[in-house]
């Protein structure tokens, strides 16, 4: 009868998730199902839930995972398929890009809580002062020009802030999509690492030069949080990062909330792929849980249209979890939110199944959806970060990345 059931949810400690925890009482009230939260920092969460799922530890009834894990775990049969969600939940309302990214073989394995792509956020006031105008689809060349124009060390303003922090989901993701926008790719169709190709050298050199010239001090350790706080303190002219950041840079904690503009992530001139990614934090149910029904009930609640409205009613439309549902973008109230349209456009501009200029054997834009990727990409991004910090040259970093990648692929038996 479920009157005293308790479900345990592992989740990441970001703003939207923490906000959801605040509304859990409502869920418990409605259903009588109690909820235990295990809130962890992203990297800790990932290693924690991965250990649990691979060993069938069964500690969690719901796990917060991303687009990277979902297809792999789904294929292994470790997740409960979400193919019997209620009619009122309206699965078809989920943005197609998200639904594809969270499915394996057409079966949905995780429900997106919110989704994101990446885009350019810039200071309209500084842009104006510099006498430039941001196109809605800028190129890297324009970005560099604008960064140069806005950079003002005397005022402690950096032309541009970008992620450099090691970690596949941090700087690794950013440099991968930057690579995409320069025509680079991780692997050729035979799983040979491609870091020895000129496109990578171009991309990395461009990034390093841009950041050394106009980026903040110590950008090699800056990730999403660091850049967010820099931008909110008015220390960045531009910031290219997750679309979810839009609600923060226009929110209460921001000192520049009134002067933020948005544009699509850039591409290198002549390359059709843009530097934007696709990501969703989604809720999935590990196979074998004793509380499958209750877990499903929770997922339906947390990723429902009603939840979005609940948040909107309490905190305003700008703060609802974005990027998951089509209906949200059709909502006239939400369309008033300044970054709504650009977010949707960015999401639509990303295609996980065709991320690069040259064909690749993998799915995923800012990641390669194979189990070995997280570890390998983290190591690669560490080499890149060392190059950002000036501890090695771009060439050395690329050579090491090439070696690490090929070693891993050999160990895993791809080659």
């Amino acid at each position: 009868d479920g009157h005293s059931a308790t479900i345990t949810i592992a989740t990441v400690n970001n703003g939207d998730m923490v906000r959801m925890q605040g509304y859990t009482d409502k869920f418990t009230e409605e259903t009588g199902i109690a909820v235990e939260w295990v809130t962890l920092e992203e990297n800790t969460l990932r290693s924690r839930v991965t250990t649990d799922i691979t060993t069938k530890g069964g500690q969690f009834d719901i796990m917060t995972i991303g687009m990277y894990e979902t297809p792999i775990w789904g294929a292994n049969g470790w997740l409960v398929p979400l193919d019997d969600l209620s009619a009122e939940y309206d699965v078809d309302d989920i943005l197609p890009a998200m639904r594809n990214g969270l499915s394996n073989d057409g079966t949905l394995y995780a429900a997106p809580f919110y989704g994101e792509s990446s885009m350019v956020m810039y200071r309209t006031d500084l842009m104006e002062a510099a006498g430039l105008e941001m196109p809605s689809d800028p190129t890297w060349q324009f970005i560099r020009e604008a960064a140069a124009a806005m950079d003002n060390p005397a005022e402690d303003i950096n032309g541009i802030c970008l992620r450099g922090k090691a970690g596949w989901g941090e700087g690794g993701a950013f440099i991968t999509v930057t690579g995409n926008s320069f025509g680079a790719r991780w692997f050729d169709e035979d799983w040979n690492a491609q870091f020895d190709q000129p496109q990578w050298a171009d991309a990395l050199n461009f990034y390093v030069n841009l950041m050394n010239d106009y980026g903040p001090e110590g950008y090699a350790t800056n990730g999403f949080n660091e850049n967010l706080s820099l931008f909110n303190q008015g220390k960045c002219g531009m910031w290219i990062d997750a679309t979810v950041a839009a609600s923060f840079v226009t929110g209460d904690d921001s000192t520049v909330a009134d002067h933020v503009g948005f544009a699509l992530a850039p591409n290198n001139e002549g390359v059709e792929k843009r530097a934007n990614w696709l990501w969703a934090w989604a809720l999935a149910i590990p196979a074998g849980t004793q509380q499958e029904a209750e877990a499903k009930q929770f997922i339906e609640w947390a990723t429902s249209k009603d939840y979005i409205e609940l948040v909107a009613a309490n905190e305003g439309w700008a703060n609802v979890p974005p990027g998951a549902r089509t209906s949200l973008y059709e909502n006239p109230e939400y369309q008033k939110v300044p970054f709504a349209q650009m977010t949707l456009d960015s999401i639509n501009a990303a295609d996980p199944t065709d991320p690069t200029v040259d064909p690749v054997p993998y799915v995923g834009i800012q990641f390669v959806a194979i189990p070995e990727f997280a570890g390998m990409a983290t190591e690669v991004s560490q080499e890149f970060s060392a190059a950002y910090a000036g501890q090695q040259t771009v060439e050395e970093a690329l050579a090491k990345a090439q070696a690490i990648t090929n070693e891993t692929m050999e160990a895993a038996g791809y080659r």
């Binding site: 800790t44 290693s47 991965t50 090699a220 660091e226 160990a411």
Partner: protein, 287 residues
Amino acid sequence: MATKASRSAARVMMAPAVILLLGWMLVPLIMTLWFSFRTYLPLRGGDQGWTGFDNYVRFVTSSSFWPAIATTLTLLIGVLVITIVLGVLLAILLDQPMWGQGVVRILVIAPFFVMPTVSALVWKNIFMDPTNGLFAHLWRFFGAEPVSWLSDAAMPSIILIVSWQWLPFATLILLTAIQSLDSEQLEAAEMDGASVLSRFFYIALPHLSRAITIVVLIQTIFLLAIFAEIFVTTGGAFGTRTLSYLIFQRVLESQNIGLGSAGGVYAIILANIVAIFLMRIVGKNLD
């Protein structure tokens, strides 16, 4: 004391501790050994059979292996040297007569109570952050460019953090040791015409050797296992990947249990080399 009865009683009373620790050592060790000879990729079908020594070969030939060993030893030695040198000096200072000795001692011990995670978080964000960190403010105040501690000087920064955590331990052990130094010996040396420095080097320092050994032993045990500090601050980037961090990456990030287990076996070997090396000294110095 040592009658047959007491000896057999002793054996019985040792048993729980010995059996538990033997189990705690052997069970994981055997499982680790087992995994290390198998291709075990949880995300790709789990245990895929015997591979012989492939994992071992792959682990040592990996470009990260020797740097990781070097990093491990750098961290170990760096922290040991700092904590012991500063510990000795601090212990001597704290041994002097002064006002408020108790309070000062509390201040000095305090870092020992701080969880490694907390200490890493606090140092990383509140002090070493190149934009908002206190050091950055300080540097700017003096007109200098703030340093990105955790990228430009990652290893020294981690050594600093870890040393900060372990300095109290070293100081306290050394302080107690200094207090146990027979004052007549110092007086004898004084009568013999030894200056303050001579007394320190010829009398006090040799007296401290046993305490220093203990500091080295205990700290080594803990330092070889340092993890949280690196995980939180650099995530192994900028040359701060120790052997145990490398194993973490293999096991948890790359989800290659076989390879990681082989790494674990290497770590055990390294630990034992260090241990044997230590035991040699300790064996001599422990009574």
